[in-house]
Every structure is written in C-alpha cells, then in structure tokens.
Symmetry: C2
Subunit: 341 residues, 2 copies
DNA sequence: CGGTTACATGAAACCGGTTACAGCGAGATG
DNA sequence: CATCTCGCTGTAACCGGTTTCATGTAACCG
C-alpha cells in the first residue's frame, strides 16, 4: 500500500506538501499540486483513514444507534429502511460514513447498555443519530453533554449539542380528522399509540384539537390506546365495536394498527368504508396493498434521514444545535375513506 | 482522553505491558493485570481504535455493501431489515462493527462505482458483505482477489476469499408446487422472477422439476416472467387470466408479485382460493396481512445475516472461503391455498 | 538597495497504540 | 556454583498521516 511518504518521494516533495495537496489544496503551488494528484492517481494512493483520524481526532464517521431488541420499537420503526437510505445518501454526499451501533444484543456482561457509547469514543465518531429507542437514554445524554453531536428521531432531546427530527404528528392527525369530517363522518373515534411515546401523544392531541374545532363532542369511549402493532390495533378495534354506540370512522394512529383494525372490522361482519371509514398514519408499504387501500397520513420518510444528516453535520462543523425539525405530513386518500355510495 | 501511556504511568508499568493486558492477558502477571484493569476502569480508559488499526492493520469493521439505487434490488431486498439485524447482532457478538457502504448515490464524478472499494481500503475494512446488487461487480471481484473476504447474499461468487449465502430456492419452489398438488390443483402456473437473477432462475427450475416429478404437463403458456415487484405480478397474472385455459393455481416466485396477482384476480371477478390458489415466496410481512392470507415459502431471514457474519469472520480469521451456505426454506400455509370448500 | 511581505515548502514532533527484541531475576539443573 | 530456562517486563521503533514552526525565495516598496 502506497503511503504518503512514498508518494512524496516519487514527486520529490515532502510528505507535508502531499498532505496539504489533499487537505488544503489552495496553499500549494498549482504545478506541484497537479503533479502530486497525477502521481497519486497513477500509483493508486489512498490516504489511510485510521492514521488521519489518529492525527486529527475526526473520523468522518457518524454512528447510527438503533435498538435491536425485538420488543422495542427501534429496529421496526415503520420506515427504518427509508430513513437509513436517506441518512446514508445525505451523509455520503457530505463525505461522512455511517457506522451501525446497537443498544442491545451485545454480549458483554455488566454495562452492556453503554456498549455503543464506548464505541463512539473508541472510534472517535464525530456524531450520532439515534432512532427512537424508547427513552432519552442517560448514556446518550452524557454523550451529548460531552460534546458529541446527537440527533434523535421522533424523540425530543435537549442540550446544546443535541436536537431531533420528527413529523408534524399533531398536524397530520388534524388532517385525518378533518378529512373524515368532510366525508360526512361525525362519530369519529381514534386508536392511539402508547401515551408515553411522543408520536402517540401528539397524534392524540391533534385528534382532540380538530374534534373540538369541528364542534364534535369528545367521548372518552371513542379513544382507545393501542401499541402501534397489528395485534394492538385489532384488540382496540374490537373494544370500539363492543361499545354502545358504534363509530362511523376511526383515525388509527399507525398503519400497522390500522391493518389490525381493518381485520377486526371484517371479522365483525362490517365493511370498510361503507360501515366504518378508516384513516391510518405513516403510509407504510402495506397501506397501498391491503384492500380496499388504506387512506393514511404520510410522513416524509426520506426527509427524516436527510434532515438528521444535515443537523448532525452542521453540529459537527461547530454550529449550535439547530431547532428541532418538524417534517410536514400529507394525506394520501385511498379506498378506506371513500364516501359510502 | 486517557491514553495508554498515562494509564501505564499510573500503574507504574510500561505502555507495552498495558497493551498486553488487553491483547494478550495470559502473558502478563496476574497481579499486574488486575491492577491495570482496575485502574483502567477507574479512569475510564478506552483504547483508541484508530491507533490500533493503524498499528495492526485490522479494523474489526466489515462493510455492508448495498445498492441505494431505487431502481435496483439491493436496498429493497424483501427483508433487508432482518438481514441487517441478523448481521449486526452476529457481528457484534464477534466484536466486529458494521460500516454501511453504498454502490451508488455517491457524488464523485468519474469512478463513482468504485467509491465503496476505496472506502474498504481507506478504512482497512477486514471484510465485506454484499446484498445482491445485480451483478457480480468487477470491483468486488478485484477486492476479493486482493484478499479482502467477501460474502454475497443471493448471488454466487467465486474466489478463495469469497463465498455466498442463499436460500434453497429450488427446494422451496418444489415445496410450493407439491403443496398445491396435494390440495388437488393440477393446472399449476407460475409467475417467475427475472431469469437473470439467481433466485428467479432457481425457483423456476424447482417449479419445473416438481411439475415433471408429479407427472404434470409442461405448458409454456403457464410460465410468465415477472420482475419481483407488485406491478409485474399484476401484469403477469393478467396475462395468465387471458390465456385459453385458466390455471387453478399459481406459484408466484415472490410475495410482492403475489400481492399484485391477488389484486389482478380480484379485478377479474375471481376468488382466491376458490377459483385460483396462490403460493408466494419470501414470507414478507404483508403476506400475513393481506386477505385471505398468503400461503408462502418462508426464507430464514435472520439466518442470512448470521450465516454471512459467520462466513466473513471465519475468512477474516484466515480460513479459506467456506462452501456456499444454502438456507432451508419452509412452507407457511395460509388462506390463499386452502382447499375450496 | 535594504527591508518587508507573501508564498511555498521542509523538518520534525506528534497522534496512541503494537510488537520485536533485549534484559532481568528467580528457580531449576548439572 | 555456574548456567540454563522461564516468566515477566521495558525500550524503542513503527504504523501513516497532520501540523507547527522555521526557512528560503521572489516580489514589492520607499
């Protein structure tokens, strides 16, 4: 493997000059620069990132922390994949790499929870992006306080080196309710996410806000808490159907739950949208596939990754934590909310 | 940040000894070792991986190469996420980290295709896992020939430092056909994947083998090529329905296509499974969600990641490339293939 | 023409580990 | 008692970059 000294020797210059060619091109004489670049290409010189990191303490890598515990939401975030690709693409464009870090699944005994924090320090990671792992983890807090830029997805965080990206959950929920209202529905129920999650709480708030704005009565029996998963949606819908008065529409705060609800409605011998209209949230792939097509509030999936990348890089470059980024949501209308003929 | 010399000074030993405590514990006196470990814990010493990599040329990182081009299959591999989690978990357990590398989406001009190869060299990556990116990429070949262990998923590769992991595609296809036969179907058609992909070709072969084994006639009009995507499955199914004789069952070589087929059947006013039974392949999430539930050939999703991790690590440790790993497939029976009442 | 300034470069220390080699003391051996 | 062996440890070079500081040269100025 060609080293910088070798390249320098071939060009008859010092290693320092070669280094400058790559990091500070403008300070070196144009002629020398060209020659160095040409020779570098010829011999296939590539700077060794470890050496560079060792010297500069910048690794040009950011960690993606996500939760590999199957019981927790991280790895099955509704569009993990889209976030990942958005993040990766945006980071690549800024010359950063992405290192995968997990908050569980590590073997080590006692302080396993901190494994990813140790990785950040050992590898000189320049920043961290975290996919909602349940809590604003104390280790992460310490990390951020120690100056490592942190961006969290869907979970508020604080600190001068930390910010977060999330969707306009409340706005999206309002959109959904308004849409159902416009389609003539009045008895609008909701299946919420867990109250302790940010998106869960926000979507409920949006639902409530819009209901009052429209002058629709608030009925406690029309608000049932789900868990963001299929089975939870199914169970919640059954509870709604057992109530004295049946809703003619349900805003379900997550598409996966909505599919569960769809099934429960079918099992009860009712039809969507004729008997009950449904609007979900997320716009996951299934939404378009499951008959009759699920009307849903779409999140800007790629935007998550892009926004996170922007935020983390700007902090890496010395900026203060930018304000939280709230991504707009849009309504995608499909069969589950068409007016009954 | 604590360095090894600092720790050494505190313990009254040389840096070499400290280094040995971490890399070769058995050669250092038990008493000294304990003291070093204790002190290390106290001051929160963590070895600097860049320095270590620089000195040893081993980074304990492997690259995951995948295709971020939306038009190509890599990033939407039917269970990218499960592979990723399996891989990550298995690698973590072996003290390796995972660096994300993309084959497109990079900005640089001319030789953009090689961006990930350069990353491998710059970062001293110990190995590479590649999610089917269409072709057995010449850059990857060179990489493998230069001694970097490579594991490919769903695509055969060759070389003493390269191997691959795939499902028993042919076996799974046979399973599907046999199942349909057992359920009394005789006019069994198939919608295949693209012929140039390995899984596409293998599944077709399995279908053909089992058809002849069962003594069922081979009818060319019962074999239609799809593209693994929803729309392709939809179109292929329509062509099957337009044929003179209608099949009473279809083996669809991918669940996403199967969902498209399901839809096409519904649009034609026919019913699954009454008129046509369907068996898919992959067992993606939707398969369980879409009514009436899609019978499908399940792949061992987590197994992909685990097997890849095992293979790459064993090669990193000096072993020759292990033989290709063929993961078993199993049939998951759901509503789409129940016998007509 | 002497003195300043700007520009381009080189020498050498440094980043934080690893490791080949040498050395030392204690116990074993002849 | 001299020597050998073994177990343990230290010295110092090395990995491949970056960066501070000094230096040399040419241009510029009064």
């Amino acid at each position: 493997m060609a080293t910088i000294r070798e390249l320098a020797r071939l060009c008859g210059v010092s290693p320092a000059t070669v280094s400058r060619v790559f990091n500070n091109p403008e300070v070196v004489n144009a002629k020398t620069r060209e020659q160095v670049l040409r020779t570098a290409r010829q011999i296939g010189y590539l700077p060794n990132e470890s050496a560079r990191t060792l010297a500069t303490k910048k690794s040009f890598m950011v960690g993606l922390v996500w939760d590999t515990d199957h019981r927790r939401p991280g790895w099955r975030h509704p569009f993990f994949q889209e976030i990942l690709i958005g993040l990766k693409t945006a980071l690549s464009g800024r010359e950063y790499h992405l290192l995968m870090l997990a908050t569980s699944g590590d073997t080590s005994g006692e302080r396993t929870e901190d494994a990813y924090v140790r990785a950040v320090r050992r590898h000189n990671l320049d920043g961290v992006v975290m996919i909602d792992s349940g809590t604003w983890d104390p280790s992460l807090r310490r990390l951020s306080e120690s100056g490592v830029p942190c961006v969290s997805l869907d979970r508020p965080v604080e600190g001068s080196r930390a910010t977060y990206v999330t969707s306009d959950n409340a706005g999206g929920a309002r959109l959904a309710v308004r849409h159902l209202h416009e389609r003539g529905r009045r008895a609008i129920a909701t299946i919420t996410g867990p109250a302790h999650t940010r998106p869960g709480a926000e979507r409920l708030r949006g639902y409530q806000d819009e209901m009052s704005r429209l002058g629709l009565p608030h009925r406690p029996e029309f608000v049932v808490e789900g868990d963001f998963y299929l089975s939870g949606g199914h169970a919640a819908m059954r509870r709604l159907l057992e109530a004295d008065e049946r809703p003619d529409a349900v805003f379900v705060a997550g598409d996966e739950m909505a599919v569960g609800a769809l099934r429960a409605i079918g099992e009860a011998g009712l039809k969507v949208p004729e008997d009950i209209a449904l609007v979900g949230f997320d716009d996951i792939e299934v939404a378009a596939l499951v008959p009759p097509g699920l009307t849903t509030v779409a999140q800007d999936k790629a935007g998550f990754g892009t926004a996170a990348a922007e935020a983390v890089v700007s902090m890496i470059n010395g900026a203060d934590a930018p304000p939280p980024r709230i991504l707009p949501t849009t309504l995608v209308v499909r069969g589950s909310s068409t007016p009954p003929l």
